[in-house]
C-alpha cells in the first residue's frame, strides 16, 4: 500500500561503503596481528603504513579431518 507515486521514484540511495579487514604487520602501528576494519575507501592510507588485508581462512583449515573418529 502507500502512496503509489512514491513507488515510481528512482532508487537514489547512496551505497554504503563496505568495510575491509586489515591486519597490522608493522610494530610501529602497535601490536602485530591487531585487526582494523576501515572503510574500503580509507584502506589505502592503512595499507601504506604496514597494514595488510586479512587473509581468509583456508579451505584446508575449515575441512581439516578429525582423526579421533577414525
Amino acid at each position: 500500500m502507500g502512496n503509489p507515486d512514491l513507488r515510481k521514484l528512482p532508487d537514489n540511495r547512496v551505497k554504503k561503503d563496505a568495510r575491509v579487514s586489515l591486519t597490522n604487520t608493522n610494530k610501529a602501528n602497535g601490536a602485530i596481528g591487531a585487526i582494523a576494519t576501515p572503510l574500503e575507501s580509507d584502506s589505502a592510507q592503512w595499507l601504506a603504513i604496514g597494514w595488510t588485508r586479512t587473509l581468509p581462512e583456508t579451505t584446508e583449515t575449515l575441512t581439516q579431518k578429525d582423526d579421533t573418529h577414525e
Binding site: R19, N29, G30, A31, I35, P38, D42
Partner: protein
C-alpha cells in the same frame, strides 16, 4: 550538568592510520572492566617568554602543545581481556595504545549509535599494581601520555 557515572573505557593496542574519528572507528576495541578513574585527556601548551628591557615586563607567546601525561586506575578483574590489553601495552617496549571513552546509553552502558565518544592515541606506561595493606583493594594504575589531540565524536551506526 552531569557526572561521569556510567562511562566506560575501551582500548586497542594499535594506533589508527590518522587522528580522525573515521580511522579510530576502524580499530577493534576491547572494553576494560573495573575502571575507577578515567584518564584525563587534553593538551598543555608551553609559553615562550618575551622580555622587554624598557618596560620591564615579560609577556608570552603561545608555544608548542603536547598531550597530557595522565593516570587511569582500575580494580582488578580476573581474566578481563581489556585489563590484559592495557597492562600488555603499558609493559611493552613501545606502549602503543588507543583509548575510547563512551557515555553509552545501551544495556549495561553499552555504546549505541549516536552516543558521545572520545578518542585518544598515545603511549601506555608505568603499570603499577596497588600497594597492599589492610585498607587497600587489589587493582592497578596505568600511565597514559597522549600523543595527538583528543577526538570528540559519536558512536557510529
Amino acid at each position: 550538568m552531569s557526572n561521569f557515572i556510567g562511562q566506560t573505557i575501551f582500548v586497542e593496542e594499535a594506533h589508527p592510520s590518522a587522528n580522525t574519528s573515521t580511522a579510530f572507528e576502524a580499530l577493534t576495541w576491547v572494553k576494560v572492566n573495573g575502571v575507577i578513574t578515567l584518564p584525563q585527556l587534553g593538551v598543555t601548551h608551553s609559553m615562550i617568554d618575551v622580555p622587554d628591557l624598557q618596560t620591564g615586563f615579560t609577556s608570552a607567546v603561545k608555544g608548542a602543545g603536547q598531550g597530557v601525561d595522565t593516570t587511569a586506575t582500575f580494580r582488578e578483574v580476573a581474566s578481563d581481556a581489556g585489563q590484559g590489553d592495557i597492562k600488555d601495552a603499558a609493559n611493552s617496549q613501545a606502549g602503543i595504545l588507543s583509548i575510547k571513552i563512551v557515555d553509552g546509553s545501551g544495556a549495561a552502558n553499552a555504546p549505541v549509535a549516536g552516543d558521545p565518544v572520545i578518542y585518544a592515541q598515545g603511549i601506555a606506561h608505568s603499570h603499577q599494581p596497588n600497594q597492599g595493606d589492610n585498607a587497600a583493594y587489589e587493582g592497578f594504575t596505568i600511565g597514559f601520555r597522549q600523543n595527538a589531540p583528543t577526538i570528540v565524536a559519536t558512536e557510529p551506526a
